[in-house]
């Protein structure tokens, strides 16, 4: 179990030679704790996606250190990262990374069959709740961005996690769907005792009383 994620004096390498405004994350010490809610806000280009990719082990182009339970992630093997991605950290990337040739259902099952985390009936309930049940067997490539975003949200919670990283998860959703998504994610995070880390450039996930951090 990962109980804390510490970001110590981290800075994307592209910012190293630049003068950056004061930040709650970069070039300081920040510890994210399990069971908390975080909302990271910044203007476009502030490095939100980079931060998510660093924490998720997808990129390493940063100065400073990132620690899981006080252990520097720089020494993790590929196999260790894959296990973390299956059991400890869920991630919804901004670009969604859905497979356009697979249907909504198949895209979700691609994750759920790997983790065997929730029963099919639960996934169907979620699809119903967020209004994409009718698009269950549609190839994702033929869906609107908003619909794709909802598929990706369901896929991201089909796994056990201690932290869920959501990179602008509701940028294409209306307020109604935003609330539903926030409720679904929060319920699943509560059930697992996990933390939610969501980023936003102006349309934040509507979490109840999140800790606000600015980049």
């Amino acid at each position: 179990m990962i109980t804390t994620i510490s970001i110590e004096h981290a800075l994307p390498r592209v910012f190293v030679s630049e003068k950056i405004p004061a930040s709650d994350v970069w070039q300081t010490s920040l510890t994210l704790k399990r069971a908390e809610r975080y909302l990271i806000e910044a203007a476009s280009g502030g490095g939100k996606s980079s931060l998510c990719a660093y924490i998720f082990g997808a990129r390493t182009d940063y100065e400073g250190r990132i620690l899981f339970n006080q252990t520097d992630v720089a020494g993790f093997s590929i196999e260790k990262w894959q296990e973390i991605r299956r059991r400890h950290i869920a991630y919804l990337p901004q670009e969604l990374s859905l497979f356009p040739e697979l249907t909504a259902w198949e895209n979700i099952q691609l994750k759920n069959r790997l983790t065997s985390h929730v029963p099919d009936s639960r996934i169907e309930e979620w699809m119903e709740m967020i209004g994409i049940a009718a698009r269950r067997d549609y190839p994702c490539g033929r869906m609107s961005i908003g619909q794709q975003q909802r598929v990706a949200i369901i896929r991201s919670i089909c796994q056990p996690f201690d932290f869920i990283l959501l990179d602008e998860p509701v940028s294409h959703l209306d307020e109604e769907n935003n609330r539903i998504a926030a409720r679904m994610i929060s319920e699943e995070a509560n059930r697992q005792g996990a933390a939610i880390v969501s980023t936003s450039v102006g349309n934040p996930l509507l979490l109840a009383d999140p800790i606000r951090l600015s980049l």
């Binding site: 040739e101 069959r113 790997l114």
Partner: protein
């Protein structure tokens, strides 16, 4: 089919995979066909004469009427040394001839025959018979012999039918005790021995006994004949020494580097020397090895090229699907299961090509086996071909799986 397979098999080029299967099949079929042909064909030259390796030559001087008048078609010490110094000679040794009389008699259910004979010997290292079959200890009265196959033929088709004696097979002949009596030039000091035929040779026109028996018998009969001459002969007991007390050697056995070398023929004809026995066997065996070697090399090159074709096509396929591979790894899929669809392609294509090549080599063999049997070939085992096929296919699979693993790892982190 799982979602992963459906995703990752996209962009597969059936033409490229077929190209691999075809080239791998051709390469393997040439290698396997060459090998099985070699294994079957070599018995034409090798199997009947396992006593003397095919790269040994036995040479003698051509007998001319001059020799009949003057005697001695034997090699002098200078001539022997000249042979030893030829670049194609690995080693050489003279034949030692018996300097005494030999009589052999055969007793077959009351009817017997008796004949005058002779013995020769060559150092034991030139005789390719297990030590246990080709040894004689002083005091033992059983002497192993290797006799020319021609002698058995002469007996069976010449003497036996004329004299009304039964014909004998090699096996039967080997089972019949041969009484041998050796005595000095005057017929005195006779020693009785039992001969045991250890084998028949196509390539040695002689009756061969172990070298130590020859040394012993030459010495003992000389001692008995000239008791005063003792000290002289015992100093010269080195069997391969040209200054052996027995007459100068009439024949020499040579271990040559490559029996097909033209330099050998040139040298022999320039000196009026003859190669004894089946002269073509050594050259044919050498040519067979050479041709099979070339065929195997060509097949090997094609096989290696096909390995690269497969590597390239899988690599290209994975490159096209790189974003998908990356996305799957981001979802937490283990490296092994992401690479699995490609490994399955590699395995099924390689195993398919391997099986086709095996079938092709079996068909090839079926086609040539009848005519080859007519030339006197035995049937070798098919197992070496199956084993080689498995080894080569396993290597192709192994190299490709390693390449797939490397490629999956490279897609894990798309660096920016």
């Amino acid at each position: 089919m799982s979602f992963i397979s459906r995703l990752l098999r996209k962009n597969i080029s059936p033409a490229r995979i077929a190209g691999f299967i075809l080239s791998n099949f051709i390469g393997l079929a040439i290698v396997l066909g060459g090998l099985i042909f070699y294994l079957d064909a070599r018995s034409i030259w090798d199997s009947e004469d396992s006593f003397i390796r095919s790269d040994y030559l036995v040479i003698n001087k051509k007998v001319t009427s001059e020799h009949t008048l003057k005697g001695a078609s034997s090699f002098s010490e200078e001539e022997f040394n000249e042979i030893l110094n030829q670049p194609w000679v690995r080693k050489a040794a003279p034949f030692t001839a018996a300097a005494y009389r030999v009589r052999a008699s055969l007793n077959q259910g009351g009817r017997g025959m008796s004949t005058a004979m002779f013995f020769e010997s060559i150092p034991d290292e030139y005789v390719d018979v297990p030590k246990s079959q080709w040894s004689w200890r002083e005091g033992s009265d059983e002497v192993p012999l290797i006799i020319s196959k021609d002698y058995l033929t002469l007996y069976n088709f010449g003497f036996a039918s004329a004299a009304g004696l039964p014909q004998m097979s090699e096996g039967l002949m080997s089972g019949i005790p041969l009484s041998i009596t050796i005595s000095d030039e005057e017929g005195n000091n006779a020693i009785r021995l039992n001969g045991r035929v250890a084998g028949y040779s196509n390539r040695l026109n002689t009756i061969l006994v172990p070298q130590n028996f020859m040394d012993w018998s030459n010495r003992i009969l000389k001692e008995n004949a000239n008791p005063s001459d003792n000290s002289n002969s015992s100093n010269n007991s080195n069997p391969s020494d040209i200054s052996n007390p027995s007459p100068s050697p009439a024949r020499i056995i040579i271990d040559v580097n490559s029996p097909g070398d033209v330099a050998i023929n040139d040298f022999l004809s320039a000196h009026n020397y003859e190669v004894a026995g089946d002269k073509t066997a050594a050259a044919a065996s050498f040519l067979l090895k050479l041709v099979v070697g070339i065929v195997l090399a060509i097949g090997g090159v094609i096989t290696v090229l096909s390995l690269f074709i497969l590597m390239l096509s899988v690599s290209l396929l994975m490159e096209k699907n790189r974003d998908k591979l990356h996305s799957l790894l981001m979802l937490g899929y283990p490296l092994g299961s992401v690479g699995a669809p490609y490994c399955r392609i590699v395995i099924s294509a390689s195993v398919g090509a391997g099986l086709l090549a095996l079938v092709a080599s079996a068909l090839l063999r079926h086609a040539y086996l009848e005519p080859l049997r007519g030339l006197g070939a035995g049937t070798g085992s098919f197992w070496p071909v199956i084993i080689l096929d498995i080894i080569l296919t396993a290597h192709i699979i192994l190299f490709n799986i390693l390449a797939v693993r490397k490629k999956v790892k490279a897609s894990w982190r798309i660096s920016r």
